[in-house]
């Protein structure tokens, strides 16, 4: 991560936060825009989950990592606490690697 990227992300995020309080607009954004932005965030996060779980660079990451994430997802589905899901995912991946699965 370069300094420039950190600075741009920080400045852009602060700018977004400042929109409302500075403009103090009474204008309501249309509900459709809200929903579109909400869905954009969801879509982006899901794509990140998929690519970072399955790919390493431009290649398949191997089975250990997606297997770990799958177990974590199952835990989350069963409403396990956040920490348990993350540690569970890491533990399964580590265990599989230890057992020789890439």
């Amino acid at each position: 991560m370069t300094l420039l990227a950190v600075v741009l992300l920080a400045a852009g995020t602060y700018g977004l936060r400042l929109c409302g309080p500075l403009l103090r607009a009474r204008t309501e954004l249309p509900a459709r825009t809200e929903l579109l932005l909400a869905d954009a965030a969801t879509v982006l996060l899901c794509a990140l989950v998929a690519t970072s779980a399955l790919m390493e660079g431009q290649q398949f990451a191997g089975w250990a990592r997606p297997a770990g994430v799958l177990v974590g997802a199952a835990l989350a589905w069963r409403r396990a606490p956040f920490l348990v899901t993350v540690l569970g995912a890491a533990a399964v991946t580590a265990g599989l690697r230890w057992a020789g699965v890439a």
């Binding site: 879509v43 974590g72 890491a90």
Partner: protein, 249 residues
């Protein structure tokens, strides 16, 4: 309670960043200045995968666009003076906005916003610091499965928006269910697009290409109702939510 949860996410952020090879100042500076878990993880993830500055920053900002919505939905919590507005804006995150929106009375609303935002800011940065210290001691992050922790954190952040289970406040369950299935369709289409594009596009861009998945939402059938609305849930992006007034899909 909320702060503890955020602190734990902060620990994982700091640990993952440092263990994957970033210098400590990167996660520490990001947590101080950006203060948004999803965007920080997303940008870090893309940067570690070799994405350029533009892609990493764009992804982060798309995720944070919802913060602008909260800003509009919460008049008054930032105070009147310009200075107060400038610094208190930094405390605007999903949770502080949601809690403040739940309060009716303006003075209380402002107090809740500042208390919640401040506590989360402290917890997030303390957590990151702890994570950085812990991550520095890890010799082989792959052997510890840390690379699986990262997608898992992101998944935990997005899961509420995809869940089929009912939520509090849904007095219009069918609309909400239809809206959710549109969101899920878009998310699935986007994820498949990103995966298919990964071998061919430069790092970072496949995830942005996933936004094409938004086309998989069906066009709106019912015109949106005139807005009276509590935006408590409507704007809660990673929650992908539709409040009672919100979702026509």
């Amino acid at each position: 309670m909320l702060a503890v949860a955020i602190g734990i996410v902060g620990v994982s952020f700091g640990a993952v960043a440092v263990a994957e090879g970033e210098p400590p100042w990167v996660p520490l500076t990001m947590s101080l200045t950006v203060f948004a878990a999803g965007a920080q993880f997303a940008s870090l993830d893309l940067a570690l995968d070799g994405a350029g500055t533009a892609a990493a920053v764009t992804a982060g900002l798309v995720l944070n666009a919802r913060l602008a919505l909260f800003g509009f939905a919460l008049p008054g919590v930032h105070g009147r003076r310009l200075g107060a507005r400038l610094w208190s804006s930094q405390l605007l995150v999903d949770q502080s906005a949601a809690l403040a929106l739940a309060e009716g009375e303006p003075a209380r609303r402002r107090a809740v916003f500042l208390a919640c935002g401040g506590a989360l800011y402290l917890a997030w940065n303390l957590g990151t610091l702890l994570g950085v210290l812990a991550g520095g001691t890890m010799s082989d992050p792959q052997a510890l499965g840390l690379d699986a922790a990262e997608p898992m954190v992101l998944l935990a952040l997005v899961l509420p928006a995809l869940s089929t289970r009912g939520r509090r406040g849904d007095d219009d369950a069918t609309h909400s269910a239809r809206r959710r299935s549109a969101t899920r369709r878009a998310a699935l289409a986007g994820a498949l697009t990103a995966l298919a594009a990964t071998p061919f596009l430069p790092p970072g861009t496949p995830v942005l290409a996933a936004l094409l998945g938004l086309l998989a939402r069906r066009p709106e059938r019912t015109p949106p109702q005139p807005g009276r609305g509590s935006r408590t849930e409507g704007a809660a992006s990673t929650e992908g939510a539709a409040g009672p007034e919100g979702g026509r899909a």
